[in-house]
């Protein structure tokens, strides 16, 4: 239960049957850090978290807490807190007793248990529901109980498996800020699993992007956002337009691309030479209707609150996702453009 200065995952691998859910994860978590594990569904995020928690034995590799080998220590002795993806609330205990469970396990004085339980319940806004059983709560309410139950222990490492995925947008924003605040004020170290890049970017000090059980990139939010290591990370970081093109010319890192009815200037992320087949990655919000640029035909328009999400097609039939402040009509022809610094070029 004491703190540590770092936690090291060393070639952590986990197989299910003959399929790797996680292959050789190397990661050092420093005390006080907020790490987000980010990746598409099924990429092994929960598996990594469970290995760290001690709930899944490793197939290979080891986990170290400073000088201590941790992967042979049972979960209850690691002193970590965890929020499960499926809540895993104790169905026979009231909300209050779910939350106080961990405190009671630590044999804290009754007064302290009550006080801290109350605090935690208040934190997740469940005061009214404290006496209910989990089965009587809505999905989001259950999720909040799970958060309170883990947070109340002020553990040295908090593991969270998509804790906000069932909350409504407003509450999610608030809880997000709350989690970050708790992380800082309690001096927690947090590993946070999410599939929501926005959540990961705003919360984490460092992000680990996983795909198919493999690490694709580790870095700060800015690094990931601006310099995804490859097209997969780019894809996942919101570069929704992944356009197969050809390099026409290259000047330093600035390259001119052509293909699919488009001509674009972009920034090379990999080494590319004229004539290479490449993938240009552009976010919808970086591809904007403008006075001059590439002509496209609008197909689908979705309302997004402040702006409209547009799906359009180039003359050669390539689909583009872009944003527009005006509502274009389906069938309308518009021209779009993107700043070269916002167009990343990956070798394909």
């Amino acid at each position: 239960m004491t703190g540590f200065s770092e936690l090291r995952l060393d070639g952590v691998r986990r197989r299910f049957g003959d399929r790797d859910a996680l292959t050789g994860l190397n990661l050092t978590i420093r005390r006080g850090e907020f790490i987000a594990l980010l990746g598409p569904s099924g990429c092994g995020k929960s598996t990594a978290l469970n290995c760290l928690a001690g709930l899944l034995p490793l197939s290979e590799g080891s986990i170290w807490q400073d000088r201590t080998r941790l992967d042979t220590v049972p979960p209850e002795r690691r002193g970590f807190g965890m929020v499960f993806q499926n809540y895993a609330l104790f169905p026979h205990l009231s909300v209050r007793r779910n939350v106080s469970f961990g405190l009671q396990m630590r044999r804290l004085p009754r007064d302290e248990v009550r006080r801290r339980t109350d605090e935690a319940i208040k934190l997740v806004r469940l005061e009214e529901h404290a006496a209910k059983l989990p089965g009587q709560l809505s999905g989001g309410q259950q999720q909040r109980v799970a958060i309170a139950r883990a947070i109340v222990l002020e553990p040295s490492l908090v593991l969270m498996d998509e804790p906000l995925s069932n909350l409504d947008a407003k509450l999610r924003l608030e809880m997000r800020t709350e989690i970050r605040r708790l992380h800082q004020s309690l001096g927690l170290t947090t590993v946070y699993v999410t599939h929501d890049q926005e959540e990961a970017l705003s919360l984490a000090d460092r992000l680990v992007v996983l795909r198919d059980g493999r690490v694709e990139q580790i870095g700060t939010p800015q690094e990931l956002h601006n310099r995804p290591a490859n097209r997969h990370v780019a894809d996942f970081m919101g570069y929704r337009n992944l356009l197969p093109m050809k390099v026409k010319a290259a000047h330093g890192s600035t390259v001119t691309l052509e293909g699919g009815g488009l001509t674009l200037d972009g920034t090379a992320a990999d080494a590319v030479a004229p004539g290479d087949d490449v993938v240009a990655a552009v976010r919808p919000e970086d591809l904007r209707a403008a006075a001059h640029g590439v002509p496209v035909t609008v197909e689908v328009v979705e309302y997004q609150g402040r702006e409209f999400a547009v799906e359009a097609r180039t003359t050669e039939g390539v689909a583009l996702h872009l944003r527009s402040l005006e509502r274009p009509a389906p069938g309308e022809r518009i021209t779009v453009t993107a700043a070269p610094s916002r167009v990343l070029v990956f070798a394909s």
Binding site: P75, G79, H92, M105, L133, L159
Partner: protein
């Protein structure tokens, strides 16, 4: 809408709808095949040859030799049922996970339910008897100087109740246990609960309703013990259980009213024990145990 629909709607709100028809076949069987004959049996118990309406009951309760059979029976069946349930829990608990040979071990553990009273009784008499293998082995090892007597007394009957009752209890409890989502224990582990606490605070309470049912069933089986109380017990003395008294009255003395009265008394005692246990059961949580369906 039509009155019919409205009525159905109102009934549905009170929990009465066509789904309840599913109860009908079961209820019909019980009413026709049990309640009617049973009422007849009760009626019979109030028509003794002498002593008025309650004569048979009075005869039972005023005779210490008869009355004591209740205590004797409880003295056998309660410990046996408790042991069967209590022993099944840790074994079943250890057997939840996956391991090689699990199926074989499970099968072996439930084999005794196939033994039946007679083989069990014969086996106990042969195996635990004065010249049986058990005593021979102990004598051979020098643990004892003369054969220990484990049959034709309390212990013989007790063992037979354990052998026939344990697999029942084990099979049921193993099944109940596997219905509890293991993620819950994992959650408890991350909250600092050790093995024992995970078991006692999470699994056990979730298992409690199943335990209660299992206890009731094994208790009822043990309470109406008859053949083994005679065969491996001491049917005139320390294992003169209440069913022997009923059997004696009905089938040896042909005093059917007394036999019925004793049987009714048996039922009432069982009912009291079961009611207490099920009453305790309702104090526990009885809903879904986390299997996400």
């Amino acid at each position: 809408m039509s009155g019919g629909t409205a009525l159905r709607h109102r009934l549905a709100e009170r929990g009465l709808d066509r789904q309840l028809l599913l109860l009908v076949p079961g209820l019909a069987c019980v009413l026709a095949l049990f309640i009617y004959p049973f009422a007849y049996g009760i009626g019979l118990s109030f028509q003794p040859a002498s002593g008025g309406v309650l004569g048979a009951y009075r005869a039972f309760f005023t005779d210490a030799y008869q009355r004591d059979t209740i205590a004797t029976t409880l003295g056998l069946s309660l410990p046996a049922a408790i042991l069967n349930v209590a022993a099944s829990v840790p074994i079943a608990y250890r057997m939840r996970g996956r391991f090689r040979g699990k199926r074989l071990l499970t099968t072996i553990l439930v084999v005794p339910i196939t033994l039946g009273t007679v083989l069990t009784a014969e086996g106990l008499l042969n195996y635990l008897g004065p010249t049986g293998w058990f005593n021979r082995a102990l004598l051979g090892l020098g643990v004892i100087d003369e054969p220990v007597r484990l049959t034709n007394n309390y212990w013989g009957v007790f063992f037979s109740l354990v052998i026939t009752g344990f697999p029942f209890a084990f099979l049921l409890i193993l099944s109940y246990l596997s219905g509890i989502d293991p993620t819950l224990e994992r959650a408890a582990a991350t909250l600092g609960a050790g093995r024992w606490q995970r078991f006692s605070r999470i699994t056990l309470p979730l298992l409690a309703p199943g335990l209660a049912t299992t206890f009731c069933l094994t208790f009822v089986l043990a309470f109406s013990v008859f053949p083994s109380a005679v065969l491996v017990g001491d049917p005139a003395g320390s294992t003169r259980v209440v069913s022997i008294a009923a059997y004696h009255a009905a089938y040896e003395a042909y005093d059917y009213p007394l036999g019925s009265a004793i049987a009714v008394i048996m039922g009432v005692v069982e009912l009291i024990v079961v009611a207490v246990v099920l009453g305790l059961r309702s104090l526990f949580y009885t809903g879904s145990t986390g299997g996400k369906g």
